[in-house]
Symmetry: D3
Subunit: 297 residues, 6 copies
């Protein structure tokens, strides 16, 4: 019956400080939408679990999360199993009909499935994760990027209503980025770009790219040189200066494009830190790198 | 400017008769739900197109359709491509982990995708078809059927809310019948049985099995011996008598179970007749075989 | 228990074709309003019955119908019974106080009553036909047409709210066209013109004049010379050319005025063909003559 | 600019007293329904005008009034004009087909029309009176009273929805009591009885019979012997005692029946006193005779 | 059982006239707001009771009343009890911290309390009066009027939402006019001016000042020289001419300001006449003096 | 532009843990009501500020807080200033009319005012604190406790609607516990008991007593002997055993009564720890002592 008061002195202070800081953000993001892009190789099982928890906790307090995923390594595995040879041109995958079918089966029928399962296991009484592909409800209207790449597409138009309808119903859409043109021809679409187009179309408050890096580094060789905040213009200048590492360029470019297209904040977070999404959304200092349209006071 | 009146005499009469007959059904099914089960091999491209049109036309006038599909032949193709050997026990596919992954990739990532594409091509301005798998929103909670069959599951519980939410939003769910247990382990579930469980749970007015036969025949060898109406009890007796062909038994059994579980009408239709769904729903005489809980006046 | 499939071959095709054609119209007219003008002498008991069915069927699928009727022959009978002499000036009935009372008693207390009864007999469980006169709720604000004609009025203003309120409640208004001025003085108003004014005010999608002719004929002597579609301008030219029969001129003029005042389509149908209203509304080719504001592709 | 204060001393007191008394009744009757029965011969033009004002004022403050009318004298005039002989059996009008048509034309096409006009003239900017007959929306389902009386009916069922729908829309229904059976055959129904049936069906708070007498008199020869309040049982005893005048018996009987069928208060008012309806509804002492189900404290 | 008709002849006429006159005002003020300013010394217990009744009766028929009160004499009593000396400068109370606390305790903790109690005693089953001070919900944002007067404030901004929220809930706010600045420092605010600011902010239809005088007199020495109506411009001229008595000037000035700021009517009523509020609101001639923005026809 | 990542290692973990723990409570208490009782002497300015922040933060995320306050020390000051002698009988204040007026002026016109000001200063853009006394809207219907104590009352009935209405409008009621009987006679009511009655009536999820002690101690002399959880029965036994200090008995008794009357949890918290309310509501371990109806797993 008796017990030691476990929240005394400093600890009670600190607990209170985290809560006092977090609640206004809970209020601010109530009813707002956040798009989370998850790379195919940035994260492991442990972190997936924490991410699923974060998304579900945020949903409980009214935040509408859309998860978008890639799947490069998994596609490679399938191609190998099917005995299809991988071809690249200027670093982009040449996608013939057989490759496209393998891509679609892998993204929609495997990677997406596994994510849905991981999310739903976290809330077995109320499983709310739902897989969506760019073909569902005409979500991603695609067009061919370059004839020489075959069925590699780019987003012509986002029909966001399928996502907003699912969100209105309290569901969490997990999106594979295979789109289709008006004739029903599927195309494989780069997930970073698709996430950006979706965030812009749904009027997201934030887009968050989870990566296997602490964020954008002023000096790629120095993990301590993290850039906390940067404007789109500064980020473009940084890319132009050659100071951004190859792997980071597509993420950073997508972030720049997102804020230019009206998303107020884009983030590059370290997906390896458990609950980095929750920390980013609900603390004042945040985590990782934030890209903004212009200087923030 | 001048023209011959094209609806004179008999034709005008007949047109009027079809319309007079159809409108009360339009009214009756307004807001009601119909589950349509589509076999993996019963239908061809032409008929898929007509089915897509039927479902979309019915949706326009307020009917809520859920499409459930199988995919046996397509699964076999994938297994072959992956070099996985097919194994059967008592006519059922033994499903190990590799087979399950192939099944899931095929049903969710290929057959379902192709159907979604076919539906959305019919309404390019308002693409409403959305692929759903039994894992999405915990739709099909599964348990193992028999240990010796591996990951073959049966439906433990249907969480219909993901479907009703989609239908509420005007979308048309197209369902693959891969379910999962509470730990997230996927199972392959027989599509006829899953369609039946879904129809019962959503309170469907009708369940319709589209097959490559005119319906239930009194004499399997005589295509003219179609049975138009039969009660569940009569159908059970017919099966017991040995008069029902092997291919028809699982369909008929699922129909019997559906009406016993409260679906007012179950139908076996000839999927090869274009628009057979529309004709069944909107005419007095209907088409194919109707299974009812008891004698209908 | 066994039965011949009655919808095989051509017949199933044709049934399907009628349904496939009709459903988009059901959708298009859902919640829309159609004004149907019924002449005093164009129709017989059989056709009234079919018309009542058409209106009630259309109502079941969400179409809001307003029926407007005339009653010349019936008025003549009453005048005879009362021993009031009929007087005409330039083909228009000179209406003194006694004549007006006879007109009002006949239209409101007899013709309208008989139509209401005929409609309600078709749906004895849910009788929705309601008689309305132009004096009810101030529906037709009238002014004197010409002093020498006495109490013959023209429409000064339509207060459509009484009709839209009835329609909102799922009722079918059947309208007699006796109006009144602001001092409460009643006037007899031409039913063709009143129907046109009502259709314009309620924002009807269609106005349909049911007549005892197949429609507008290019050659009044040739029943096969039906004009299917004509623009308002072409129709005016046709009248000017003298090619339109006397009886058809007021109908055609009212149609022209209706489309000029914003009703998208006006129709002259053969009221003697049972269900001509249903055929017109729910088939692609329609029936009779359609007057449009301008060329339709 | 200067003026004498016109509401001093007693007068201001009295004005205040009337208002203080009236407002709780305004509140009490807000949203409630009152049925007012108007005899064919009890009232003159002046009083009709005051009644119309009362009904419209009560409507403004939320009271839902239904006006029911008779028309004996006016029917006699029409029969004379048509040259139809009047026949009576036990004081009831024998109604053959020709008489019925004359009755219907008179009630619906003349008396009702004149009342609608009188009401709408009082509110020319917002004319809300709408004529309704017992055939409209199947309001009065009738059956034959006695074969020897021909088309004299009694109320089998009231379908009140047409009235409540009109009231919901802010309209004031004025009702002629011609009903019809399920086959559409019209019948003439006694207006006192029909008003009672309607009041009971719509759940009216009050039914008010306006007559050409001060109310129920203890001594029919003494205008000063007005009975202010009486219970249904007392009223039945009074009729049995022979103390009630012939003309008053049907009114009183209808009142007794109304309170027995659940209408809380029935009133016999002097229709010759202008605004007697308003005074009855909004003052504590009321006016005329009030019939209650049982003793009121 | 028998009784004399108590509403005969003239009396019935007069009752009817008051009612016929009042109901349109009931309608007109339904949902509208009236601000009533009550002086600290104008009224006695009897009149408070009648005022409470008036406000509650008006509330019953949908009028939203806000009562604003002063309390000069009561403040003086408290200061005496506390032994605080009263100081005035140019006729205004110099308010130091101790005086302010006494003012606040008296207005909020005594005068307001007593009014709330008087109102709630009139409706013990449904007590709806609620005391509100200018500090509640930030109702009256204040700033210092003049440094030499200490904590005497003027209204910088009215945050009316606390009042409209209470009114929306059917409550009657009774307002003390102690405001506060953004730092939470309270100020005493003149109640006449505060009532005016509140009326303007809530979009009141009327503001009514209850005083111990019949209204504005053309000749202050002649109680019979009441001015019934006056425009703001005329009233300003009258003040300039010196013809307005000292006690009346602040009331009249507040009235002028109210109509200039958009309140359609301002009134100075004799608070000593019981039910003067009700008479003013619900009769055509009204009572006391009405100030209008411009000439009223 | 560059910055050190401030949430690394342990700290990020801990931040995440607090958030992960808190969000489910945010969800659980969304739309729920918490009653907070604040003693007159338990807290200082600093803690009031933290409490105001806690209540406003909780309100932002949907928690409905009602604050109830006492004011013993402040009442004593007023009595001294007024020169009224303090009298006690059995430890309770004897309250004559003069004392009652001083109590009411102090609680409603001073203590309540100061709290409202402190709350509203924390949210100057959206000041939502509103003072309420037990007389407002008939909140606390009181009766005399014992004749010899004069105007000391106990709660006869709580009319919670004034509070729930304010909460519905997003306002935060701060309650003084002066009630009144049906005749309008005010009574002073013990704030601990009134808070308990209010919590029970509004269906609060929690009642929280803020005190100047760490909670209930097993050994009043040992600050480390805090009892974290105790059932109502155990607490009653503890009181009976004499182990509870005098000052704690009324709090503990009120807590016991609250849980018996249906409040799921009652808490005694250390009001001297800043943000103790927030910590209690949003952490798993909580703080202070929790009294429950029965053993909690």
């Amino acid at each position: 019956m008796t017990a030691q008061n476990r929240i005394r002195g400093l600890a009670a202070d600190e607990t209170a400080r985290v809560l006092v800081e977090a609640l206004p953000y809970v209020k601010r993001f109530d009813g707002k939408t956040i798009v989370v892009k998850l790379g195919g190789n940035a994260i492991d099982a442990e972190v997936d679990k924490a991410l699923a928890q974060d998304v579900l906790l945020l949903r409980q307090v009214g935040v509408r999360c859309i998860v978008v995923h890639g799947g490069g390594p998994q596609i490679d595995e399938t191609l190998t199993a099917f005995g299809i040879e991988r071809q690249f041109k200027d670093g982009l995958r040449v996608t013939d009909a057989a490759t496209l079918e393998a891509v679609r089966m892998t993204l929609v029928g495997k990677v997406n499935r596994d994510l849905v399962a991981k999310f739903n296991v976290e809330a077995p009484e109320d499983p709310v994760a739902v897989g969506v592909s760019g073909e569902d409800g005409g979500l991603l209207l695609a067009r061919q990027l370059k004839p020489e790449l075959g069925f590699v597409g780019e987003v012509e138009k986002v029909r966001a209503s399928v996502l907003t309808r699912l969100l209105d119903e309290g569901l969490v859409p997990i999106v594979s980025t295979v789109g289709a043109d008006a004739k029903g021809q599927p195309y494989n679409i780069n997930a970073d770009a698709a996430a950006c187009a979706i965030a812009s179309e749904v009027g997201a408050e934030k887009i968050v790219y989870l990566t296997a890096a602490p964020g954008l580094l002023a000096d790629p060789g120095d993990q301590g040189s993290l850039i906390s905040r940067i404007t789109a213009a500064e980020a473009e200048a940084l890319i132009a200066s050659g100071a951004v590492g190859d792997g980071m360029i597509p993420k950073l470019t997508a972030c720049i494009r997102a804020v230019i297209e009206g998303v107020p904040r884009a983030h590059i977070l370290d997906g390896r830190i458990a609950h980095s999404l929750l920390i980013e959304v609900l603390t004042e200092s945040g985590i990782g790198t934030m890209i903004t349209p212009r200087k923030v006071k």
